[in-house]
Structures are given as structure tokens and as C-alpha cells.
């Protein structure tokens, strides 16, 4: 069962939204665990924001040579992989995950990013929201989690 750490980074390199979760698809890890709760150990949890942040440089190197929205895997760090997506307005979606058991689905991550982009744009249409504000809406949080459950 993979765990994921998803972040939306604004144009000033500040995080606008974070979410830690695990795959909702049932693994062999028994019923004692809460489905969807991330399984990162505490010392991995601490470095997740750093791994994410250090990948921003790599993304900025790639984003002017690659005209796709989804940039694929951009970085890896001791068993953690980092995939990224950049919107036209330079908002970065970054996901860190451990694929220890080798089961990870590139297409699922792509789909997750695409639909997240749509949710983000809807949030952006809110007159009380301006670019680079933190995404604090409960509805947005809920919908991202539903997407996480659907795809990852």
C-alpha cells in the first residue's frame, strides 16, 4: 500500500495546500489500519516538505523545455519518487510517494493531476480567492480526497 504526499505550490514557492494520504485500495496490511491514512514513518514525514521543495528547482529546469502539463517523474530520493504537474499559470502540483512494492500507476497519477487542475480552477473562480492564497476550503479538501480515493 503506497503512501502519498501531495502539495500545491504557488508562484512564490509557498505551499497552498498539502495532503498526506495512502492508497484506499485495500492492501494486505490487515483491517487494523484506517483506510487512506498515510503510512509514512515519522522520520520520513519530516523530510517530505524538504524533498518536495528541493524538486522545485528541477521542475523549473524542465518546465521551459517540456510543453506538457504533466511532467512525469522529476526526482527521487531514497525510495521516494516525485512526480509533478505545472498549470499554465505556473502553479505546481507535486506528489511524493513511496513505491516500495513497485506498484505504481503513472496513468492514475496523471488522471489525478488533471482532475485536481479542474478543481483548482473552480476554486480560482471564487471571487474571494486570489492567486497564491492558501486553499482552505473544506469542499476543496473533500473533493481532493475523493479524487485520491478514486485514482490512487
Amino acid at each position: 500500500m503506497s503512501s502519498y504526499y501531495f502539495t500545491i505550490i504557488g508562484t512564490n514557492d509557498t505551499p497552498l495546500y498539502e495532503l498526506e494520504f495512502a492508497s484506499f485500495k485495500l492492501g494486505g496490511s490487515g483491517a487494523s489500519q484506517v483506510p487512506g491514512k498515510s503510512q509514512f514513518s515519522n522520520n520520513v514525514k519530516e523530510i517530505l516538505p524538504f524533498v518536495t521543495h528541493s524538486s522545485i528547482d528541477l521542475i523549473e529546469d524542465v518546465q521551459w523545455n517540456n510543453n506538457q502539463f504533466y511532467l512525469g517523474k522529476v526526482d527521487s530520493f531514497y525510495g521516494l519518487s516525485v512526480n509533478a504537474f505545472v498549470t499554465q499559470g505556473n502553479i505546481k502540483f507535486i506528489i511524493c510517494y513511496d513505491n516500495g512494492n513497485g506498484r505504481y500507476d503513472e496513468n492514475a497519477i496523471r488522471q489525478f493531476f488533471m482532475e485536481t487542475n479542474e478543481l483548482y480552477v473552480k476554486e480560482l473562480m471564487d471571487p474571494f480567492y486570489s492567486v497564491n492564497d492558501a486553499l482552505t476550503s473544506p469542499d476543496f479538501d473533500l473533493r481532493i480526497k475523493l479524487l485520491a480515493k478514486k485514482y490512487l
Partner: protein
């Protein structure tokens, strides 16, 4: 002049939530706490699995719908109010243009993302070249905003970093009649702001200004002069080389 801050492009207004703000609805991210504010708990997990939630119906609507038609009268009245409101607060012609530009800026930032998403991310590309983003603004963005594409897109022959988008009759200035003593005020500064916001958020930093340049048959013909920052030009040259 603290009042001037009101409509300048506000891009970095962090949320004002604090650590004490509790999570009433089980969902929602709190930037002061970080990822542990919205981690998945037994309660939220069972809500997600059993789908016992009511989603906000407004957000469920697809944003990919074709653009709606808006009556020209209501748009003109709204723009009339915008100009009037900015005019009352402004200290001069330049200031009024800056205010209109600032109001358009945020629309540009938002509309860029919306029109790109409407185009469909699967088949479209991110614009990473100056000419491509300008063509996108000139055609797709313009069509979404005004129902037609802009008339011309030109590169300045003398200056390397200047481009021009030309509209023979900008929709918002159709019913604007600038008094003689207002000099070269052009209310399409609002549209210039939209272009500037879109370019800036796409990573092409630029200054955009609107100038009236009447031609025979189209007295409202407006040139939007786009001056790119030097960093944008040098970045483009680097990627061409590599």
C-alpha cells in the same frame, strides 16, 4: 498613500488562519498547521468510503461548458460603473489607467487558467514560447472574453522585446467617449491589465499599455503594446540554443 493598495495586484495575501482555528467540518486545510490539519482520520476515512457527504452543488457543475452569451448592455453598464468608481478614487489620468489595469490584472490571472482548462488539457500544450502564448491570448483568450479573435498580432520592428495586439473595436470601449481634456486616456487599459495578468502568471513578465490609434473606418482602434522584461527574452534565447 495607503488607499493605493486597494486594487494593486494582490498576489501574496496569505490566509489569515491561525493554529487555534479548529476544523469544524472535519475537512479543510489549515496552512498554519500544515499537513496534519487535514490528515485522514477514522471519521473522515469512513465518510470518504461510504460517500455520506453532501457536496456543494455549485462546484459540481462542469467548467467545460461553452461560454454563455452576456448582453452587451449589462456588460457596458458594469464597465461604466467600473470606470466611474475608479475615476472617483483616482488622482489623475495616469492613476485612473493604473487602477483599470489593476482590476483587469486579476481577471487575466484567473481567465488564463480557465481558458486553458476549457481547451482540454489532454490534447493541448502548455505555452512556453513568447509567440505561442501571444497567439493563445490573441485567439483563444480573446474569443472567450469578447466572442471574436483580436484583429492583429505584430512584432515591433525596431525593438526586440515589444509586441502588439491590435483590436479595431475593443468591446468595453464601444460606448466610451473620452472628454477632450482627458488627453490620451484609453479605458481599454482594463483589457491591457487582463493581458498583463495572463502573461505574468504564465511566466512571461511584461508591461502592457493601451493606446488609441484610429484608422479610417475604425475610430476606436486600440493597440495593446506589450513590453517584455529582459529576463523573458534571454530565457527564450537560452532555450532555443539548448
Amino acid at each position: 498613500m495607503p488607499e493605493d493598495n486597494i486594487i494593486l495586484p494582490v498576489s501574496a495575501s496569505m490566509s489569515k488562519m491561525t493554529i487555534q482555528d479548529s476544523n469544524k467540518s472535519q475537512f479543510g486545510y489549515n496552512p498554519s498547521i500544515g499537513a496534519s490539519s487535514n490528515e485522514i482520520t477514522p471519521t473522515t476515512s469512513s465518510i470518504l468510503l461510504n460517500k455520506t457527504v453532501s457536496l456543494n452543488p455549485g462546484v459540481s457543475k462542469s467548467i467545460n461548458k461553452k461560454a454563455f452569451e452576456v448582453s452587451l448592455s449589462s456588460l457596458s453598464f458594469l464597465f461604466c460603473e467600473i470606470v466611474n468608481w475608479s475615476h472617483k478614487k483616482s488622482k489623475g489620468i495616469q492613476d485612473l489607467e493604473n487602477r483599470l489595469n489593476g482590476l483587469g490584472y486579476q481577471i487575466g490571472q484567473k481567465f488564463l487558467e480557465l481558458s486553458k482548462t476549457r481547451e482540454g488539457l489532454k490534447y493541448s500544450k502548455r505555452e512556453i514560447k513568447i509567440v505561442e502564448i501571444l497567439q493563445f491570448i490573441h485567439s483563444t483568450l480573446w474569443k472567450g472574453l469578447f466572442g471574436k479573435i483580436a484583429n492583429e498580432l505584430e512584432k515591433s520592428q525596431d525593438v526586440n522585446n515589444e509586441y502588439m495586439i491590435i483590436d479595431n473595436c475593443p468591446l468595453v470601449s464601444k460606448f466610451v467617449n473620452v472628454p477632450k481634456d482627458y488627453g490620451d486616456l484609453n479605458c481599454a487599459a482594463f483589457i491591457a491589465g487582463i493581458i498583463e495578468g495572463a502573461l505574468d502568471s504564465a511566466g512571461f513578465f511584461a508591461d502592457v499599455t493601451a493606446h488609441t490609434m484610429p484608422k479610417e473606418g475604425s475610430p476606436l482602434r486600440t493597440v495593446f503594446l506589450i513590453k517584455f522584461d529582459d529576463s523573458v527574452i534571454s530565457k527564450e534565447e537560452q532555450t532555443v540554443q539548448s
